[in-house]
Subunit: 321 residues, 2 copies
Amino acid sequence: MRIVVLAGGIGGARFLRGLQQASPDADITVIGNTGDDIHLFGLKVCPDLDTVMYTLGGGINEEQGWGRTDETFHLKEELAAYGVGPEWFGLGDRDFATHIVRTQMLSAGFPLSAVTEALCDRWKPGVRLIPMSDDRVETHVAVTLPDSGERKVIHFQEYWVRLRASVAAEAVVPVGAEQSKPAPGVLEAIAEADVILFPPSNPVVSVGTILAVPGIREAIAEAGVPVVGLSPIVGDAPVRGMADKVLAAVGVESSAAAVAEHYGSGLLDGWLVDTVDASTVERVEAAGIRCRAVPLMMSDLDAAARMAAEALTLAEEVRGA
Amino acid sequence: MRIVVLAGGIGGARFLRGLQQASPDADITVIGNTGDDIHLFGLKVCPDLDTVMYTLGGGINEEQGWGRTDETFHLKEELAAYGVGPEWFGLGDRDFATHIVRTQMLSAGFPLSAVTEALCDRWKPGVRLIPMSDDRVETHVAVTLPDSGERKVIHFQEYWVRLRASVAAEAVVPVGAEQSKPAPGVLEAIAEADVILFPPSNPVVSVGTILAVPGIREAIAEAGVPVVGLSPIVGDAPVRGMADKVLAAVGVESSAAAVAEHYGSGLLDGWLVDTVDASTVERVEAAGIRCRAVPLMMSDLDAAARMAAEALTLAEEVRGA
């Protein structure tokens, strides 16, 4: 079975690990979000790609969900001693190596997709990991700074990591997306997929950014195979992160049903909500999307595997319908 | 008193620390060798400038004489895990920060001299450290590889660090030197100096490379102030490093007197040899260079300070002559 997964960072990576356990023989292609990529200290940092790579490759810091295990922060300390920032982005000594290798390869002329493949040669994540695009797309967020009242457009990472989404996101713009092209292999993988899954990643700044690359949304809608998603919202709060903040920016209420409606039945065939949201199943189905309520808390690998299995079961239901 | 010192790496840095102790009120300008600079992992590494900066700024690894104290090598481990080399150059996690800041500033358009000044803002070495040139000069060495018999021109660092000068240096070429210009401040410092010192740095690949920048040798010769050097050769062996290997490449025998003659009386007014070389004082003086035999082993800071004091004393003798 060929499965295509559109993945953001932590949620996507943990779901993928569950999917590998639930479907060990599946041929999995991951289309990774690069909208949260950022240039720091002259280096190209791809947080979501790296989180997927490190998580599936056994190098992730399990507690925090991002960054490397057995990590030290001496380089970062020294940058701070030089007065060179930003200090709010946590790059460890081991992690820096990934960004140095990536930057060096990009400077040598390799596209990000080829660089990602080369990095994965080491990590062997057990999936094919492709960035959504080789072109630069950077998600920016419009905010009003509370102290000065100044309206400012900042990089998504500054909003998410430095401000911790503590102010309202007035707009979320994937800068460069309109001019970007899917990376080599993305459309082919979608066209050849048996199932397409949206993990419980952020529907705006993770999955939404991938869908903003012209051609990807259309390819998924026209693939003719089940497209099943898992709600990142449980009850009225995001399972992880601050998805509600950016949902508001695109006018979507923070609920499992509203996210399904946001994707829409033109794209999504099936949707899993958590059991606490069982009452919204009817609303989702009324929108033309097959819906089931199952436990959606990825508390451990087995829980993630059960979620993945439920998503595949729902996909088969969709296919048989 | 305004003192200008032409410095290489470890020997130059340790001598400078002695000079600061011997002459605490002196206004010291260091013209640093950049011929051993190298691009590694897309980063600009300036080993000699950093050794001076770290040594005088209290950040040096005292035992090895280069690199940072309290250092870790996690980033380097990871680069090796990615299969990205070279592995033979020891860059630590803390040290990497210096190269990242430097590279970022250079990419932003600052010349190396301005970058070095900015880095020294943190380290406060107590001297003005200026690279010999803002232009790229890279010392290369012609060798015949023992296994294959292949004649090859390699970067000085590859010769020095990877091969540990285990094969003969057939030629030593400061590539780019002819087209280079002294960095801003270099010629001015020489013109305003009261004394100019050559520490016991390598006469070919350290001091020699600085002198290969057009204008520097001439400015020193015409400064009209005492120019005093200290022999890096004691007995018939270099005090440190492998200076004899590169002396052979320029046709100079490995002896204290031969190095003085190599600099020549047109450049050098005074020369210190070690007490074991007292018998060569006469030969050096016959070449028109005032010479004294004093202990030249920089075994500790006090020994370095005594050597610096002897150099200043000899300079005053030259001035009075």
